[in-house]
Amino acid sequence: MTSTVGAAAVSMPSSEAEAVAAVTEQPYATVLAGGTLLVPQHTLGHVAVERAVWLGRAEMDGIAQSNGRVTVGAAAPLAACTRLVAPVGPCAANIGDNEVNAQATIGGNLCAPAPYGDVRGPLLALGAVLRWADPDGIHTGGVEDFVAAGGARPGRLLLDIAFAAPAAGSFVALQRHHTQALTAMTVSAVRGPGGDVAIAATGAAPDACRLTSAEAALAGGGSIADAAAAATADADPYDDALASASYRLRVLPVYVGRALEQLGG
């Protein structure tokens, strides 16, 4: 079904395959998921949309778990993702108030750059594998590959996100729950099945990043305090309306410490 009244036509595919075809055909379409960013941007004239594809009927909102692997459809609402394991579940729960949380999707959040996109942190720590379609075909890669490929843009559709259920996970956020719309910093930690620890942050650098120096300190037998101190080497702090660069640099080790304490031994 296509709604064609007025300027931008919006198609409403009823399967993933139809959605891929609708997004990648010329002129390339902009994806409309929950609309919590796209609709206000469109209303305020910050984006021009020639053609849009709404995912609400494309059956891309499933969450499945088998053989220790979790697969989440890009159109799964954040509210449904709150029941996923840490760090991604608590991260989803931390985003927006109840109404925004119910409407926004995990794919929309992943596609939204800083100061949004909190789920990029947990998904980096989990080593999640994304599947996306564009006019060149279907691609798989990590969050960093999706970002390096240019992230969301007309003609590109994020399909799903998969990760191995971790042995343990933890999540901390620099935000008083719900009191401020956006999150200044998050730290996610994951212990893999082999005991190795991966740590990622949002708000420590202009985009979500792994804290590899902190990971190396732990792997080398260092304490939580050692790993926390090492994390500043991975930061590329910046000023914005949420926090100053110097504040981010001071808070990062504290949050890395808390995330590792929460992860437990």
Partner: protein, 173 residues
């Protein structure tokens, strides 16, 4: 496309990506949802969509074909106000009134969903709603009264004996 707004079938002509807020206010002349921030941050535009509170400024109208939309105009009439509306009047829960339509709609969803008079739970349910006049204590009292099913006389105003100075976001203020 068709929308059922306050139990009346309406045909919408606006382009599909138009926000529900713009459709309600500018096409259908229903002005209780307020255009506060138009970007999801204040809650003043909240309406019920199929019984659930939704930010009308964040919702593309094309995603709602056939949906039931309820605004404050559909909750009660001046002669027969809803329980939440009566409680807001009795507890003096509006100052300038700009946030009130969104607050009343969200509180209605909370009460209809079986919400209790627990202050923290009400604060959580209304967390996305900002009152620029900062009249949160009265709002919490009104929603708690509606949740309890208190008799609220709209001809008189309650005293604030039960003031618990807890902000709507759940922290101390």
């Amino acid at each position: 496309m068709e929308l059922n707004v306050n139990s009346v079938a309406r045909t919408v002509q606006s382009p599909p990506l138009t926000s529900l807020l713009t459709v309600l206010r500018e096409e259908l002349d229903i002005t209780s949802p307020k255009a506060g921030c138009e970007s999801g941050g204040c809650g003043a535009c909240t309406v019920l969509v199929d019984g659930q509170p939704r930010r009308s400024c964040l919702t593309a109208v094309c995603t709602l074909d056939g949906a039931d939309v309820v605004t404050v105009e559909g909750l009660g009439t001046p002669e027969d106000l809803s329980r939440v509306q009566q409680a807001f009047i009795h507890h003096y829960a509006a100052q300038c009134g700009f946030c009130s339509d969104g607050m009343v709609v969200a509180a209605t969803a909370y009460v209809n969903g079986g919400g209790t008079d627990d202050t923290d739970a009400i604060g959580e349910a209304l967390a996305g709603h900002f009152c620029r006049c900062t009249g949160y204590v009265k709002i919490l009292e009104a929603v708690a009264a509606a949740a309890r099913g208190d008799e609220c006389d709209v001809g008189s105003t309650a005293s604030s004996a039960n003031n618990t100075y807890v902000s709507i976001a759940g922290g101390e203020s």
